[in-house]
Each structure stands twice: as structure tokens, then as C-alpha cells.
Symmetry: C2
Subunit: 336 residues, 2 copies
């Protein structure tokens, strides 16, 4: 019997991970689309024309919009859905999810208002089960083309993280295990704030010194926040932390970095959002994290400046100046 994977979500990342899983001849991979229109194009073209153009989707990957067909007899659910759609999608599939089905989340973000992590939402809607998170520096475009990629699989269940490692691992897709689910999920959401700041840095032409310092101090402050919420410091200095932060901050295609570049050019948030077709999660994460940091009395100077640029029309040059002019301090301060 082949091992069956139900990949939920036909975006770039869902499609790319289906291609990775499909490389193992013992696997049966079903790619579920939430929308009939998308599924029809995928079936006709055998290509994710809009998001992964030029990458063929082999016939061996089953394409469907039928939740029951996707989940029936599945050994693993792979949740490849933006955080903002996780709750409604979980509700939709709930009647067909077996109570023992383990789920791996690929979502990066936090639920607005509730501040819940993606696996917490899954657990709330579907009930307790073995859960894992797959994260790290992993542009879907590169993964789909077989560029070498290294990620981390985190789970409270040692068996599940080891099993995910074994099943997802290929000679172009390397998987490390980790037990810090909280840290991996928080790092994946929080790095987008720093990605916006990196875009501002690029847009103002501040140079490599400024950008590297921003990324380093940004990493320190998101780690400080994560640790206060129960994450392990180490995770922020691993693939899901600094690794993902690096791609977010240096990639030409990053959506959050793009928001920052536009801010530096003088554009305002409403017009930036109106012109973007895809979600830049960092815009919302910044607000949630800024609010929570205030309540927890945590010092997050970069997040605070990103918040002011996004929501209080602060001039980006003034924000940078205010960061450079803070009282000199010592480096080793991860505490609250």
C-alpha cells in the first residue's frame, strides 16, 4: 500500500511540496484545491500557470476539489494554506478528517485578534492530534525547480517529526528535526516584520552594514518576544529563524520586503495593499505583535518603528534616525 498524502492548498507552496513528496515511488499524493476554477486549470494544463509557470505537474499527482476524496485513507494531511484562511478551511474539511490524522502545517503567520498560531487553530477546530510544522528558507519557486533546500520539521511528537523527516527528505530537500513547535511557528510569523524593515532599508539605499545590523538586531528582538511566549532561543538561530529571515530580507520577490520598499518611496499603506494581489502577512503581524509587546512590556524598537511607518505615517528616514539614536547599550540582552 502506498503512503497517502493529502496536500491541502494548491498555491505555490502546496504545489511545490506535492512535487517533493511525489518523488518517492512509495507515495500517493493528492493535491486538493479549494476552488474549482483553480483545479480545472491545473488539470487542463498540468502546470500552476500563475504561481509556478514552467514547472510540469506529473500525472501521478492526483488533482481534486473533493475533500472526501483527498482525505479518505490519508496517512498525513499537509496544510498549505495562508494563515488567514486556515480556520475556515479547517471547518470546511472537518467532517472528513479522521480523528487520528496527523497534520503538518506549512502556514506562516498568526491569526489576527486571537494571536493563535496555525497549529493552535487546527487543534481548536479539528481536536487534539499529532501536529507538526515544516518551516525554513524555502521559496516555493526554487523548491519546485529542485534547487537545494533545507528545512526544519518541528513536532511535540518525536515519532511524527522523525517520520516527516524520513518522508519529505530527498537529495535536494534536506529536513532537520526540532521539538520547538512554538518557536518555529512564531519565528515564521515574526520574521515578516523584519522583512518589512529590510525593505525600507533597501528602499532608502542605506547599504549592507545597515541591513545586516537591522537583521541581527531584528533577530534579537523577535527572539526576545518568542522566548517570552515560551519559545526556545535556539530555534531563532536555526533554519526557521535566521535562515528564513535571510531569504525574507534578501530575496527580490519577498512580499513583505516589497511593502517596506514602497514605504521608503513614500507610498502609504492603503495604496500599497490595494495594489498587491497576494497577502503580505507582516503588515498584520506587526500590529498584533506591537500591541502584545506593549502589554507585556517588552522592548521591540524595530517592530515599534515598523508599526509607526505602517499605521502612523511616520517618515522612514526619521524611523531609521530614531533607531540609530537610541541610548547605547550592551549586546547580550535576550531577557524580558
Amino acid at each position: 500500500m502506498p503512503i497517502k498524502f493529502a496536500v491541502l492548498g494548491d498555491g505555490a507552496w502546496g504545489t511545490a511540496i506535492a512535487l517533493v513528496l511525489n518523488q518517492n515511488a512509495d507515495h500517493r499524493v493528492v493535491l486538493w484545491s479549494a476552488r474549482e476554477e483553480n483545479a480545472r486549470i491545473l488539470r487542463e494544463r498540468r502546470e500552476n500557470v500563475r504561481l509556478l509557470p514552467g514547472v510540469p505537474i506529473p500525472q501521478s499527482i492526483e488533482l481534486t476539489t473533493d475533500v472526501k476524496q483527498a482525505l479518505d485513507g490519508a496517512d498525513l494531511g499537509v496544510m498549505a494554506i495562508p494563515t488567514v484562511f486556515v480556520r475556515e478551511t479547517m471547518r470546511r474539511i472537518a467532517p472528513h478528517v479522521h480523528q487520528d490524522l496527523p497534520i503538518v502545517s506549512l502556514a506562516k503567520g498568526l491569526e489576527n485578534d486571537t494571536f493563535l498560531r496555525p497549529t493552535e487553530i487546527v487543534q481548536q477546530v479539528l481536536g487534539p492530534r499529532a501536529l507538526a510544522v515544516l518551516s525554513g528558507p524555502s521559496h516555493a519557486e526554487e523548491v519546485s525547480r529542485g534547487s537545494p533546500t533545507t528545512v526544519v520539521a518541528a513536532s511535540l511528537s518525536y515519532d511524527l517529526s522523525r517520520w516527516v523527516q524520513e518522508r519529505f527528505h530527498t537529495d535536494r530537500f534536506r529536513v532537520y528535526t526540532n521539538t520547538d513547535v512554538v518557536g518555529v511557528e512564531l519565528a515564521g510569523a515574526l520574521k515578516n516584520i523584519i522583512g518589512i524593515a529590510a525593505g525600507v532599508c533597501d528602499g532608502l539605499g542605506l547599504g549592507d552594514n545597515a541591513k545586516a545590523a537591522l537583521m541581527t538586531r531584528g533577530l534579537v528582538e523577535i527572539a526576545r518576544f518568542g522566548i517570552a511566549l515560551g519559545a526556545e532561543q535556539q530555534t531563532f538561530f536555526g533554519l526557521a529563524g535566521v535562515g528564513d529571515l535571510i531569504t525574507t530580507c534578501i530575496s527580490k520577490h519577498g512580499r513583505n520586503r516589497h511593502v517596506g520598499e514602497r514605504l521608503a518611496r513614500g507610498d502609504k499603506l492603503p495604496q500599497i495593499l490595494a495594489s498587491m494581489s497576494m497577502v503580505a502577512e507582516g503588515v498584520y503581524t506587526t500590529r498584533s505583535v506591537h500591541d502584545k509587546a506593549l502589554k507585556m512590556d517588552l522592548d521591540m524598537p524595530i517592530t515599534a518603528e515598523v508599526y509607526r511607518m505602517l499605521y502612523e505615517d511616520k517618515d522612514p528616514r526619521a524611523a531609521v534616525q530614531d533607531l540609530m539614536r537610541r541610548e547605547p547599550t550592551s549586546e547580550s540582552d535576550f531577557g524580558p
Copy 2:
């Protein structure tokens, strides 16, 4: 009485730091050149024509080749010399160095054969004194043009690190303090190894995922090595660690990254070195660190592959493949 700074070394970094110190009207800055020819051009042009073209050197910075003049009455010696020249330069200036003169080192590297850090060489030649290290993501070109830059000043003497912070700090040059001299110096040397690997990654066109993973896992392995030699883990995740690593790995101008790009193109080490006018420290650091890691039984897979590419003609594609094909493991392993 103005505070007198003797900047020893007229390279790009020495010149840039003299410009930073010279911004404070209470400072008297003397820039010492080891070679008369360099000093003559600096005096005539008031510009470091070769290394920092277009940046004027104000008349208020004194230029000299006279060690005695530079050091007489100095409050601080700033050592801006490549590691390979530190020992001979310290011997040369020794007769004129006051026994209480504190010295700040800007050198990044390790002495070949002895494996000594720059401040250890200084101490050996000049005798015990207050020592500090200034490090972090700080391309001299950007510093000299006033781009925002953030660095760390590390010293076992709390007073000296605080004093250096106070004196070097400007609104474009931000200084954090740190007490981990060993870690800051080791990080500054070791990141060059990863810089070579990043160049290989770029030269082979492996993409952002591969490069970010390489930088992350590279950081883990140089931290592991540093910790085994007495450094603090935290330092590797600060400005002198990940911060400097980022500029080294992403900057177009990095010499170590350049070596890696040439390796990826199929060039061999002797021809690469023959065509470079400046020292790529990482080439020698790789050999020293690889040898020491073997003796200490430390796992440094990226360093080992860089060593094989540099000194055993290993094909870069095979090196990458061997890294991707290692036995899958867990992420949290900083131990020996």
C-alpha cells in the same frame, strides 16, 4: 586637552575609523602609515585614492609615518592592520608604546601556525594591557561615506568597552558593548570560511534557499567550534557573528565570497590567489580551523568541504551534493 587616538594602519578600515573618530571635536586623530609612499599620497591628495576614492580626509586628521609622533601622548591605539602583519607591526612600534596604552583591535583573522587571535598577539608582543575588539558588519567604504553602521566593542575591561562605546559612537555609527573577546575575535575570523562557501553557492547559481541554509548551518558550526574554544554562544548570534556573516556572504565586494565564486567557475586556488591583490583571510583560516577541528573531534561539515575544494581540488558540485546527502539529523546541536 583633546583625547588623542593613534590609528595604526592606513588601509580602508583604518582610514574610515579615523574619519569616524574625527567627527568629535574633542578628539585629536593621528593616522599612521607603515609605508612612506602611502603617507605621501595621503598627504598630497587628502584622499585614500586606491581604497576609498572620493572620500576627502580633512586637514584635522594628522598623517604620519613616525611611530613616535603617532603614539606620543596617545590615549588609545587603534590597530587597523591585517592579521598577517600584526606581529611584525607590533614589534616595530613596541619601543614607543606606553605600558598603560589601551589598544582596540580591528583585525579579523587568526595567526597561521600559532592559531593566536589578534589581541593575543598584541599581548604577547607588547605585554599585558587593557585590550578591546571592535567588530561587526562594517564595510569600510560604507562607513567612510556615513552609511548607518552598527558594531560591537568587546573587552574584558568593562571600563574600556564603555569608553570605546562612548568615544566611537556617532549618530551614523552605533556601538554596542560585549564582554566576550574570544567570541568576537573567533567569529570575525571564522565567518570568512562560510563566506567562501557562500561564494560557491552563488557561483553555482543554487538560489536563495540553499544560500540561507548554508549561512544558517555555517553559523551553527562556527559557533560550535567557538564554544569549544571558550566563546559564548550568544556572540555568534550578535553583530560580530551573524551580522558580519551576512555582509560577508551577500556583499558583491567580499574577497572571500569572490574566492568561492572562482572555485565554482572551475578555477584552482593558486591561480585565484595569484590574481588577487588583497588577502582573502578565509583561505588560510579554513586550513587552520579544519586541522584544529579534526584534532578536537568537532563536526564541521561545511568547513571540511571548503577545505577539500581549496586544497584537494574537490569539485564544487560534488561538495554541495555531499552536504545535502549527509545523514538527516536534529537541529539543536551546538555541543561538541
